[in-house]
Amino acid sequence: MLLYAFLAASMLYLLVFIGLPIVYNLVMSVQEVELGNISDLVRPFVGLENYREAWEDPSFRTVLLNSALFVGANVVAQVGIGLALALFFAQRFPGAHVLRGLLLASWVLPALVVGALWKWIFATDYGVANYVLTRLHLISGAIHWLSDPTVSLTAVTIANIWFGTPFAMILVAAGLTSIPEEQYEAASLDGAGPLARLLHITLPSLWPTLVAVACLVTIYTMRAFDLIFAMTQGGPLDSSNVLPLLSYQLSFQRFHFGVGAAVGSFSFIIVLAVAVLYVRTLRRESEG
């Protein structure tokens, strides 16, 4: 009986706090919503007009591609670097735990602060990035990190990787501790070297964790907003814009709430697909 109460409570929570906003967003995306009727529930139905308008907006396609590149690069880099760092800190050297904890500092900072920080680092003339790269003779002329449309997406991606990697690292580190030490001992006795142990024990046992981390990073990165808002506002020319920021701009800066909601729906569909993958991975993990 109590178990059913638990079920009912969580269902109710999901319906009210997750389900309603999603439904509300979907409803808005097929309506003509203006400042004048935003408080009404019944608004003119326009079918898929908002979706068509979003799709035909040239900036939407740029932003869709940007989002794919941004999320893809973030997932690969955050999981990859997170794994490398977790393995590194799993070595027992003095201060390993403390240092690993300190790495989390970046995850604790508010995204707006991180954005302001990286904007400063990436400033063309007095930024640290160009200074260091020039001193190391890696670049000859200054890079316009945030004002060159061909570079700005890379710049915000680097900043977001720095921001999110510690979180990925901690999750992977947690996964590492669940691999029984005996397996490594047995493998060593059988003559397996470090590389063989990594390829045949660590990675296979860690695989479900890595998939789960990749899903979480995807979801977190899909909703990246503050960091990019602080660094470039999506510019120049939408070159660093992503779906949630575009949705915000359409709704709250240009007052096209329906189109903004339609863009939001695209994000939702992608996140939903990833979330389903995540849940299935978790299930397989618990069954396995």
């Binding site: 400042l35 935003i38 063309t124 003339d125 007095y126 316009h144 004002s147 999506g234 800066q253």
Partner: protein
Amino acid sequence: MLRRTFLASSAAAAGFSANVARAEPATVSLWHVFNLDTDMIYGGMKAFNESQSAYRIEPRLVPGVQIVTELIRAIATGSVPDLVTLDSPVVASFSAQGTLTDLTDQVVQSKFIKPDVYFKGPWASGQWRGKTYGIPRDANTLGLYYNADMFRAKGMDPDKPPRTWSELKAAAQKLRDPAKNVYGFGFCATQAEEGVFQWLPFLWQAGGSVDKLDQPEAAAALQYVTDMVQQGLASKDVINQSQYEVTNTFMAGNIAMSQGGPWELPRMSKQAKFEWRLAPLPVKDDKQIKADCLGGYDFVVPKGAGQVEGAFRFIEFMSNPKILNEGWKSGRIGPRTDVMVQDPLWPQAYATYRGEMSYARPRGPHPQWPDISRPMQTAIQQALTGAKSPADALREAAAKVDPILAKTPL
């Protein structure tokens, strides 16, 4: 309310005047964006609350970038504040959609708020189809800040700031010093409203206008700022520097001259470690048109506000020239022609900005101003990054702006 009437009547019955038995003042909720404690709104609220007992202002400070979002949320949920300060170009979007309280009757009856004492531009921002939805709280324009020490170091006379486009460019060329990371000129060209705010003066000085973006005048205006960037007189980073950051760069000594507003004065006077001065924006040599862009905040009362009367009383209170005089302490110019600060802080800056008020032009008012502004932002960024020529970029912008203006003209 019930409690108030009860108290008042029982007090009267007991032979006391209603004034003695103090009724609870009605709360008037105010959302504003002014985070400097020297802003006139703080002294205004205190004086207002002390001057009468019927209303009490309950302020909430909302960051400037969030106030529109917050107001939309409030409108959508039907729980609006009584009074909000809004950036003047967005007011028309709200008033045209019927989300604000019509204050026309209150203004007609008001002793203090007379439309003809206001500068035309600020007053127009609160108007829509002959009705009043917003009352200007303050105004601002842009000026040319310049580093007098750098002028002297380059053998230039700081008493003779550039007065024309060609002088501005020549000065920027002389002042530029790549070895020291110093650019000649700085302005804001972000993909945001403030980028348009900073470019419109050039458009108007060139004899162009928002409804004629495909004309050579507009192209000349965009070409001018594009040349500044492509010839290295201004940093390429201007397309990603907010006005706040442009001023930071100026104060750090990395720009010799920068375009900026009076709201920068409080931090300029504290943080700039050199002699800075201010000049009116230059004019285009062959046109000699003085033009500047108007900014500022309006007081608006959202529709459905519970305390329209109290809100309007506070607007009246804040529109008193005595209070408006205080605005200059945080770099806010009175939107009324009868406000002239005697013996002001930063006298030279005051004279400059106050003088510009006579020819500064408003953005709009137009309910679709954000949709008009956006194509201009894109055109500016296309030209500055070299993605398109200024003329091509503006032709594209005109193709988006013109249909909007054909439906609802400026």
